[in-house]
């Protein structure tokens, strides 16, 4: 059979990856197989957890994470240390939950899969450190149901860790109790939204919840709950092992943010893939690593980090890929995995595809999202057929703004508005070409109100 099974693979050789420069991936095997407990221990595994449990307080861990400024790798970029410092803890407050968001479904994103499938113990170690810092009693890994290989790797790793005393009661003789359960989802993108994820974990429809109270105050089953992305947790062991200053220095002059990032490229490039690079690496370097554009076609536009980020232009490739820089350009770094579109491809059609995705995946809880997204799709479809009407572009502008931040219950619709608004800004002519009638002829003979 000519078609092969999918296997996630980093595009960096072992020679390029070192513990001092590639905290997330240096332990990965060249053959792409899972790193088991013995190999993980041989590669300095659980050394950070041991150090933390033996010599540091919860406050120490949080202070180091804050200083390192590990920003949320799920896409929002909120400081993990800051989040952990806001968790309710102390005497009289029940120990709650630490939840790993492994519900990777952002269009164009395939980074957490790598860590889950090949380095499950790194995640477990990161969660032990996070659990200790947040006084959590129990951890859940919320994994999307389709990640079957990751589920196998995690199930095995959790058992290995438990048997070796790294999970359960009195971890490694420290007196700290913490265990992890794997929870597999049953579909729906919205489960990746922090509060919707908690609803789903509780066995309900994955509707988001109002904040405040924030999950750190009242999350799963009313207890303090901390939700972080896979890659965020996977940064914690190296930060605790080598310190905040070392972590900050990893990105050198490239960015004010510290550390590395799992970057990726997909779309119309010659060699799509995944790389661990200092945060702040330029899009141009990523494109180069991806072998440049496929078939010699020119780059038209790109999405910096998933379907819920805004389009950028070729000239933006020279900007640092970090949260603040990309934010200032009116987009978001999001997950940091680039989607690349060439000159032959229609931005209008891609936006229609994205909005169809967001419309289908809306949980339906609040009206702007539930009704506004299908309406957007309808207009885009008619423009795509060349049957758009006068006023359609203005309506799309209005929908984009009405679906924006602060107008809806959660970030789902604002995420959908981002590619829409940026496409209208940079590629308005493509939308205009979809309007069938010149403005002077449109609705020349409208039906009078009340006449039908």
């Amino acid at each position: 059979m000519s078609v092969s099974r999918y296997h996630c693979q980093l595009r960096q050789s072992a020679a390029e990856r070192r513990a001092e420069t590639h905290p997330l991936t240096w332990r990965l095997r060249e053959d792409g197989a899972v790193v088991g407990l013995d190999e993980y221990l041989d590669k300095d595994g659980y050394a950070a957890a041991r150090e933390v449990l033996d010599h540091q307080s919860s406050d120490d861990v949080i202070a180091t994470m804050k200083e390192a400024n590990v920003r949320g790798r799920g896409g929002a970029g909120f400081s993990a240390g800051m989040k952990w410092s806001l968790t309710m803890k102390g005497e009289g407050i029940p120990r709650g939950y630490l939840v790993c968001n492994a519900d990777e479904m952002e269009p164009g994103t395939f980074k957490d899969r790598l860590l889950l499938e090949q380095l499950p113990h790194l995640l477990i170690e990161g969660m032990i450190i996070g659990g200790y810092a947040n006084h959590s009693r129990f951890g859940y890994i919320f994994l999307r149901g389709e990640y079957v290989e990751a589920a196998r790797a995690l199930t095995r790793a959790i058992e290995e860790a438990r048997a070796a005393g790294w999970l359960g009661n009195d971890i490694a003789g420290s007196g700290y109790d913490f265990d992890i359960a794997l929870h597999t989802g049953a579909g729906r993108y919205i489960c990746g939204e922090e509060t919707a994820l908690i609803s789903s974990l509780e066995g309900n429809r994955a509707n988001p919840r109002a904040k405040p109270p924030f999950p750190g105050q009242s999350g799963a089953w009313g207890k303090p709950t901390v939700v972080n992305n896979v890659e965020t947790f996977c940064n914690a062991p190296a930060v605790m092992r080598h310190g905040a200053a070392w972590y900050q220095a990893l990105s050198g002059e490239l960015s004010n943010d510290g550390g590395t990032k799992l970057y990726g490229v997909s779309g119309k490039v010659a060699k799509p893939g995944l790389w661990e690079l200092p945060i702040g690496t330029r899009g141009s370097e990523l494109l180069e690593r991806a072998g440049g554009m496929r078939d010699g076609r020119a780059l038209k536009t790109w999405l910096p980090g998933g379907g819920s980020t805004g389009f950028l232009l070729p000239e933006h490739l020279d900007e640092a890929l970090d949260f603040d820089t990309i934010g200032k350009l009116g987009s978001r770094m999001g997950t940091g995995l680039l989607t690349v579109i060439n000159e032959d491809q229609s931005v209008l059609s891609l936006v229609r595809n994205l909005e169809q995705f967001f419309a289908r995946e809306s949980c339906g809880w609040c009206t702007p999202c539930r009704d506004g997204l299908p309406w957007t799709v309808k207009i885009l479809q008619s423009l795509e057929r060349g049957e758009g009407e006068r006023g359609d572009l203005e309506m799309l502008d209005k929908l984009g703004s009405d679906l924006g931040p602060g107008k809806t219950f959660c970030a789902h619709a604002p995420g959908a508005a981002m590619p829409l608004q940026s496409a209208l800004k940079y590629f308005r002519d493509e939308f205009e070409r979809g309007v069938a009638h010149p403005p002077s002829n449109a609705h020349a003979d409208p039906i009078p109100v009340g006449a039908v």
Binding site: P107, G108, G145, R188
Partner: protein
């Protein structure tokens, strides 16, 4: 396991909750702070046996969990991987998100539909395949991608479809 072989009609007629499943659901229930939390897993348990979740399963699950049937129904209708209609022996999930879309998803879907004689959301007459769309499969570096049951493939060219499906009887 005779119960595994239990057949139910396509309208769910004849469904009863197998004892083994009842125990498995009760076991899940006792693992969480509240019984509602076991709801999704309970639906998956029923689906593993029958391939889908018939209407009659809803009150049966509700009874084991000690919650109202509406609470189970609301969850059962929300999640895309809980099937409320009979599906084929093999379920094909085709990724229709941006990267696959940019890499000839339309052509792949056309080839699948032509080969199977069905569209998205449908099941072949012989009950072998059901074709469904799915959110970004996280295989964007090898798009267009799809899953058949637990197996992920990519990139899948239209010409690969016949060979690929041959492996699933």
């Amino acid at each position: 396991m005779t119960e595994t072989a239990r057949q139910i009609a396509s309208d769910g007629e004849g469904f009863t909750l197998a004892d083994e499943d009842r125990h498995a659901i009760a076991h899940e229930r006792d693992h969480y702070e509240q019984p509602q939390a076991a709801c999704i897993e309970a639906l998956k348990i029923v689906q593993r046996r029958h391939g889908w979740v018939p209407d009659a399963a809803i009150p049966a699950i509700a009874e084991v969990l000690g919650i109202g049937p509406a609470s189970v129904e609301g969850v059962a209708t929300f999640y895309s991987l809980i099937f409320r209609q009979p599906v084929g022996r093999h379920v094909i999930l085709v990724c229709d998100s941006s990267s696959c879309f940019l890499n000839d998803y339309d052509e792949l879907l056309e080839a699948l539909s032509a080969r199977l004689g069905i569209g998205l959301g449908q099941t072949t007459e012989d009950g072998r395949f059901t074709l469904l769309p799915v959110c970004c499969l996280g295989a964007c570096d090898r798009g267009p991608a799809l899953m058949v049951d637990d197996d992920t493939y990519g990139p899948v060219a239209p010409d690969d479809v016949a060979d690929l499906l041959e492996g699933y009887a």
